[in-house]
Symmetry: C2
Subunit: 187 residues, 2 copies
DNA sequence: TATTCATTTCATTTTGAATTGAAATCTCCA
DNA sequence: TGGAGATTTCAATTCAAAATGAAATGAATA
């Protein structure tokens, strides 16, 4: 099965259910679901662009296009993904504060809505993906610098320059992150 | 075999070749090669952070830490990768203008050096990876907006707002890219 | 407490991307 | 032109990450 975003919907709005099914583009009879799946696809691509599993994006996209909260079961059946994927994906999205769980009183299920702000998303990505990796690389660069000792003088000079160049890149990237956050995080 | 960055070197600086081999950390007897492999590892991580095959980064890192140009054969044996991977990786790096091929007169082999500037790298990444994807998403969003017609009025209102919100993000990201390029691209 | 449905967990499976390696092709020199 | 590398190509393989699904756990009602 293609990793989510494939159409499988059949619930909600029982009328006009089993009409003519054209071979391809049989997408969904319900225009709302159609838009939801479209949005799921868009966010799936975005997610994997940023190095996340695309199911994360699908789920967020579906919720983003849902006027009212959805339960995990609804998510599973609309996206055609497994409960395992849905459970883990929702957990992560809640951690990222991209999605809010709602436990209504007198209800057994938890329902979820997408937060419409970009900031938490971007922030989490920068803090959890980029910064740690940049930090690790910086450390490794520093330790390489200490290994310069055993080199022939000419090589030593050349490599010292290059390592410092790479270090400068890293620092620059690090100072740049807060700027990105501020810029993207106003809405 | 772990995807490159594993030690396998045995050429260059023939002296002190087969000394005592401690079980782990048998890395490399030659301090230059050691630094080169370290740099290869750092750039391998960076590459896959940006969604490129890590072999690309390994090769670039090795060249970045090489005072003089290396042939494909030398790259293959130092990184322990296949000729196929090396060939394709070098081709891509040359396309990205991250690496310069040098065909010396009276020599049969092509040798390669790393460009030490960051700009072409960043530029290529932004232009080839980010911009096209953002553009595609924008188009898809636009076409979703047209599908709003068939919705109940209340849903329609809510979704129109959300789609425009997502579109705004995209535009913001697009206007932001040139700024990044300028900022990172001075060196 | 027993029961039912929702959710989580995790060993297994799938899948797509990266890598391999060997054959085909190319290039240069004799 | 022939031959010896150097390089490219690409079908087959490998591998890591993601997804599955079923059993275990959890939560709420009756």
């Amino acid at each position: 099965m293609p990793p989510a975003s494939s159409a499988k919907a059949s619930h909600e709005t029982p009328g006009s259910a089993s009409g003519s099914r054209s071979p391809r583009a049989a997408a969904s009879p319900d225009p709302l679901v159609e838009i939801q799946l479209g949005m799921a696809g868009i966010f799936a691509d975005l997610a994997d662009l940023l190095g996340n599993p695309s199911s994360l994006g699908s789920i967020y996209g579906l919720l983003f296009a849902s006027p009212n909260p959805l339960s995990m079961e609804e998510i599973v059946e609309r996206l055609g993904i497994s409960t395992g994927t849905a459970s883990q994906g929702l957990r992560r999205l809640v951690e990222l504060e991209a999605v809010t769980p709602i436990k209504a009183e007198g209800e057994r299920v938890t329902r979820y809505t997408a937060k419409l702000e970009l900031r938490p998303f971007v922030s989490a990505f920068l803090n959890q993906q980029l910064l740690p990796r940049l930090g690790k690389s910086s450390d490794r660069l520093a330790s390489l610098e200490e290994a310069l000792g055993g080199l022939e003088p000419s090589d030593q000079e050349a490599l010292r320059f290059r390592i410092s160049r790479a270090t400068k890149w890293h620092n620059r990237a690090k100072t740049f992150l807060p700027i990105i956050r501020r810029f993207l995080g106003s809405t």
